[in-house]
Symmetry: C3
Subunit: 306 residues, 3 copies
């Protein structure tokens, strides 16, 4: 048994590869990748079945989209063979945005439209597959924001709308003004961050039928290096399950733990190293049984279920 | 004035006796009751107007249902004159379930169907009045679970479906897939555990019209023996009200405090001693006035209302 | 740019002045105001555009309504040129209510009807513009309460129904039984109390389209005198914004911070001094930009947004 390599985020919603490649660290290393190496990265991801790439305007201090876009043009594959997700509404204090005097959010119609135009230009594309509101904006005027998003869909600049880090209550508000469904909520979850199991996020997504995208699906590295008792217990539990099924890469087990959830979670992988990516993609062939899944949960929460 | 002796849990839902007898401690004593003594217990409960009996597959390390079932056959009254509730989905580590290596939950279709078949066999009955999901399962696939429950209702093996320890969000999810309403949510509440007044559980049940069943309605014994300041303050408040109305058994007052709530709470009594049961049944004749009710709340929460 | 001086609380709901005068401190001083001075206060408020007055049966130990009512008769303006809001359901221990032995709430039909009759008499009016349930009553029987409120609207004694300090869950419950929408939820919020931004209250109100009234919109005085680090940081942030826009009264900035929210907040001002009122009314001409708004939020929460 194995998981489907592709997933429809919502009824009549867009399809992504079940594992999405997150591009936020593209410029984190000392050697900035040139267009050729980005093109190779894209090809390597596709070879592994990952056709979906997760961006945000702010990644790499507002510079990742353009670096990716240069590589995307060099790659020269068919636009329709990949899906590009990007986000807007966080306003960083940055030399690239000198007008921002305080970190804030902006879900105004003007900012959303301008941000989409910049992302299209940077990415060298003429449509975005999914635009996400990056963070809930306490000043969101749901009517204005929804109208701006609907206009962008109508214009063809974006094909679908999602959110990120929203509560069910915030989703219900925005959804009440949109003429189409929200296709995803990108949230943090991992074997080290299990809050969404209890805070209603996954109840809401399963009830309404949208698939959550998952950021930091490996817990941000703590899984491998953390010395706290939680990290150690989880590492042991993952290794034990790995021994049972013959998988040495605990990343793959940790991702399989997410894939097992009926809310249809779509992990966004943060590593851009092809060998790490290949290890993680094996998660798609690992279907944990209930007891393996709960043994990992028990290790993470430090107690039996009630 | 007094409370009705019977209550319909929901519109077109099943009716129970207003006080339900919880059977979970049937095998807790040193002398295990034989079929004759269980038959006498059933008769004693009915004499007190308690026709509804609350079970779970796991009670008494998976052995209570069968012990009760033997007594139920011996009792030999009409099946229709009683209501039997049971539960499933908790998977204990137990010599009686050697396959369980880790405590977990299971709301899969296969487990629910198998658990119901075992409960029917153990209880010596051919239908269960209400089947409850015992705990929210983080791996619940609402579509699969609801379909399994609907199939059981259609087959006649169970007559109604409820849940236990669910949040409103979890109930909304399951309800969204069921072709009939959920008839109850069995939750913990007492004069020592007042959280449901504020956490939305009772708002939800009153809005949707299902009556919550209440476990540990006396606070698990702490009411009588607890030396903490909360227990002492509540005991004093209950005694004061008891003095006002001429009732010496503070259990009866504590139950009357629950019965007073407009969400129509259905306490599940945990004592199987006929004299204790008789004292508690007097709660049905005690209608507290608002100030008595709030005086007890104030004692429990250690402060005036806002 | 400026804010409209009037606001419709809900679709087809009543209109209020955007700033409401709260009367709860009318009798707090050493010199109790006579009818003439109350009449002058009403005239002064109207001169500033404040036509709406917020009461509760309990204010001033149950005596404010009558003191205001005497002044209202003396004032002798047109009833239709003002809006009077009052509340019920808190039962204080008070020499004026000797029957109350414990502080409690009462949303029974009998109490609501009696409280409205008393408020009408005290205020010297024959209708109340909006009646609010003052606090969520854990014993609220939604059907009974809604029927009582609907009857009062039908009789003409009250023209609209709101609540105060309710959670979304509690509003949904009451709304499920009412034949008309709830027009407001009066909650606490200020630059020093930002919880409603995150607890779902403003999502709910914006989604359903009712405008929240805001009590303690200046944080109860701590804004001016508080020596805690939060108060100091907020004071500095307000002053900085004030310097940018040429407004020396930080009250006006603090109110403008509320007015900027898209959920359409309606602050209830607590000061009855005409010069203080005049300063605050200038808030209606101050439209903060996003960065000013977030700079104040950042000061209040002691951290950048995520």
């Amino acid at each position: 048994m194995a998981y489907d390599r592709r997933i429809a985020l919502a009824k009549d919603g867009p399809s992504l590869s079940r594992l999405v490649l997150g591009i936020w660290r593209l410029l984190d290393g000392d050697d900035k990748p040139d267009a050729d190496s980005v093109a190779r990265l894209i090809a390597a991801a596709l070879d592994l079945g990952m056709t979906s790439f997760d961006h945000a305007d702010i990644y790499g201090n507002y510079e990742v989209e353009a670096a990716f876009g240069a590589g995307f043009r060099r790659w020269a594959g068919r636009r329709e063979s990949v899906e590009l997700i990007t986000k807007c509404d966080i306003m960083l204090k940055s030399a690239n945005r000198p007008a921002n005097r305080v970190k804030h959010y902006d879900t105004s119609a003007a900012h959303i439209a301008a941000s989409v135009d910049r992302s299209l230009l940077n990415l060298n594309i003429d449509y975005i597959d999914i635009l996400l509101l990056h963070r809930p904006d306490p000043l969101m005027d749901a009517g204005e924001t929804a109208e701006a998003l609907a206009r962008l869909v109508k214009s063809g600049k974006i094909r679908a709308v999602g959110v990120s880090n929203f509560t069910p209550s915030q989703i219900d508000l925005l959804a009440s003004r949109l003429p189409f469904p929200i296709v995803t909520n990108q949230i943090e979850m991992s074997v080290l961050h299990t809050d969404p199991l209890a805070d209603g996020s996954l109840d809401h997504s399963q009830r309404l039928g949208y698939a959550p995208m998952i950021w930091s699906p490996l817990g941000g590295g703590g899984l491998f290096t953390g010395s706290g008792s939680r990290e150690q217990a989880v590492r042991t539990a993952l290794s034990t399950v790995g021994d049972e099924i013959g998988e040495k890469d605990i990343s793959a087990i940790a991702l399989a733990w997410l894939l097992r959830h009926p809310a249809r979670l779509v992990p966004v992988l943060g590593s851009l190293k092809p060998d790490r990516m290949a290890g993680m993609v094996r998660a798609l062939d690992i279907v944990l049984d209930r007891q393996q899944w709960f043994a990992i949960l028990e290790a993470s929460e430090g107690r039996e279920v009630a």
